[in-house]
Amino acid sequence: MTGNSSLATKQHTLAQHTLTQQLSPLHQLREKAPMFIAVLFGVTIYASICNQFVPQDSIFYVSTYSITLLGKYLCFALLALAVDIVWGYCGILSLGHGAFFALGGYAMGMYLMRQIGDRGVYGHPELPDFMVFLNWQELPWYWQGFDQFWFAMLMVALIPGLLAFVFGFLAFRSRVAGVYLSIMTQALTYALMLAFFRNEMGFGGNNGLTDFKDILGFDLQQDQTRIALFITTAIILAIAYCASVMIMGSKLGRVIIAIRDAEDRSRFLGYKTEIYKVWLFVFSAVIAAIAGALYVPQVGIINPGEFSPLNSIEIVVWVAVGGRGTLYGAVIGALLVNYAKTRFTAIMPEAWLFALGALFVSVTVFLPQGIAGVLKENNWLRRLTQRTAQPAGGQA
């Protein structure tokens, strides 16, 4: 018990409450989730209604472009959440989460490609256009089954999960940690990028998969489909957020934080740290993959560029900006940085890399806790959350 309490003091988000209260994951959920979910669904529903029922010339009208953009941001938020789980809570700095994101995206892309059917440019009933173009005679074995939605969704989670498991098992078992692990993850995504660039791989090579028509029978170009995708993303983000809060609030979560702060000590206490790390890594990879799967139908393309190491590092910056070790911080960071990126690249494209670079440097040097850290110091958010959480906390 004493060991637990000394670790708990290190965790900033848990302070004021007594130990017994903190130990319950449900309590954590009640304390942390309502505000997040309220804001998330508030915005989602507002945007959807304004898109559908407000006339186009009204100032309240939200264009479909904005809806898609918001949906894209939410996918990135989900991705940032995945990185925050491993980096913020377990100290595993993964520079390869873009790989899981892209793999999930490819699985979804394969389903969407199969849905095109004979409406492609070459009109082949089974083969996607790029295979016809490459003179392939039949569908490769690994494309079988992707015409079924359930199978594709299974693969979205299974393939990246399996990769994360194998990679994590090998790496954590031999205690590869710190910068070594970061570089290994980067090499992983780099290797995958090179592989997916090859035409022989059968994933469309350079151009990737694109030109999608519909999903589950609904036209991807239609506003309703886009809104549905947007809302789905929001719901999944909420679910992932709640699940993460519960995991981090449980005993499992506390062991994970202990591993982050003193891995050797946790090991000496008898915890098999590598097992915890592997499963957390797999969980995180699956969330990233789901984010990728939601991303692809909304932007309409997936190509090997998503594997590039730069993308993976950018995710880490979102988390760093928002504040690692706080789940809402990761989400805020992803939204803010991506919004800034959209604005910047529209106004002055050359300046974006300067801004991003400066952001990297300034956040790491001046704001190690990110925006969440600033908010915490100013305390206004805490007072706000406490007020909303108080009645719930009182009942527990």
Binding site: L93, F167, L170, A171, R173, S174, R175, V176, G178, V179, Y180, S182, I183, M184, Q186, A187, L188, Y190, A191, L194, A195, F197, R198, P309, L310, I313, V316, V317, A320, E350, L353, F354, L356, G357, A358, L359, F360, V361, V363, T364, V365, P368
Partner: protein, 569 residues
Amino acid sequence: MKFGLLRRFFCALLFFLLQDSILAQTVNAQSPDEKADEIGQQGISASVEGVDNYASIQTLAGAKLNAVPAIVEQLESQLGQQGLSLFEAMLAGRLYYRKSDSQVVIIEKQGSDSDNYLLYDSLTLKLLGEEATANFRKVRVNNKLRKQLRTTIARLSLFSNDVELRTESIRSMLDKVDEDTIDLLNQLKEQETSESVLSLVDLAFAIYHFSDSDEQSIRLAALNTMDGSLEPAVRNLINRATERYEDGTYAEVDTRVRRKAEQIKSGIESKVAFYEFLETIFFGLSLGSVLLLVATGLAITFGVMGVINMAHGELIMLGAYTTYVIQLLLPNHIEYSILLAIPAAFVVSGFTGILIERGVIRFLHGRPLETLLATFGISLILQQTVRSIFSPLNRQVETPQWLSGSLEINSVLSITYNRLYILIFAVIVFLILQLILKKTSLGLHVRAVAQNRSMAKSIGIRTEWVDAMTFGLGSGIAGIAGVALSQLTNVGPNLGQSYIIDSFMVVVFGGVGNLWGTLVGGFTLGVTNKFLEPMTGAVLANILILVFIILFIQRRPRGLFPQKGRAAE
């Protein structure tokens, strides 16, 4: 892009050869005792002779086709080897004359969208300028004339004073040995002194006899001469002789000759395989030397400070751009600008490195993951800066003549000079670095800090200063690597990015904090990569290497040569 480079390379090579032969001729034309005196006046005398020569050349302009052979003969006796470039241009249809004043020049077409020709002097190949195509008319040649020109060129280069040129000329004849060439070669054989040229002449005779003669003993003797030769002409001949048709008969009717030929063929093939093996090793070593160069700087910063410098690739890029800028500043001294670029790049990148260390990394001490992110941010800023200043397009860095061309060991194995020099250069840089680390007080301090920072600090080493110097040193070496890379690849803002992962792999594979590990790691990965490439293709080889290292790190997390002792943890 690739095509352009290749063409540039061949032009330079051709230019080099031709100029050499002309110089050799003018110098050798005089008797030995006069030579020393004459060399000083050579410029003057050449120009005096030159006027006369140009006048003779001008007779080509507008001459009737049946009169041209006589003119060519006259020019051959008058110009000697000086006329080689003229005849070659004539044969290639690049000899033109100006309609207004009948001046004869060699032209170069500039692609379909230009209305101008580039003009070259017909003897010295000096660039004269650019002029509209409409002002010129071609010096016409017909087939008969082409044949005459070919023999003239062959004769001129065959009896040149340059061994290289003679060798080259015989080689080009080997494909088609006929009675005329045999006559020429017979003349040459009487006066030839060079062993290698003589053996080539024998080879030419053997090829001629083998195809021409019916007598078994002569053909067998010819085959004996050809045994072990790697000349493409010989290999083609042997392949043709041993060819088996679909109906089971052989191209060569004589069984004994065929057996002998088959025997020689297998001998040649194993020899070729051996040289190809050597070539693969050389390419591997060359790749390894590049990896070594880019990884050494990283090994120092990473090994000593435990800092992952993601901006390392951009420091390499800065070095490459420094080379480019120095070439811009010294357009007339391409030969030396690259030598000047080495210290310049060291200073530029090293200084940038020190700035990065003092400005950012210092504040992130003991937080390696944050350092990684911050330096990545710096790399983005550097990239964008270069992109804003120099444009996002790739820049061309000229290759000096002494770096272009290749060392031909035989017709299978040839080693390009730039790769050879970079290999040597990488090893020299590595040795100098070892010397600095082992023999200077800075090196001593660096090693002390690397082994145990707090202990070093407590005995009075200024670790802050050592950090800055180490970072500067590592970054400076990155800059030097950039100079070398500018000779191999395109110089662009993304140059560094493509090397950063590879160089990390080398450092991690070799073992952090161990420079010899980096050396072994770099060469091992380079050679392995080149041996995998023919089997799997370049990209897959790269992927396999990455996967291999990922697995290797699982087995040996500290690399090939781990640092020993508790301090290494």
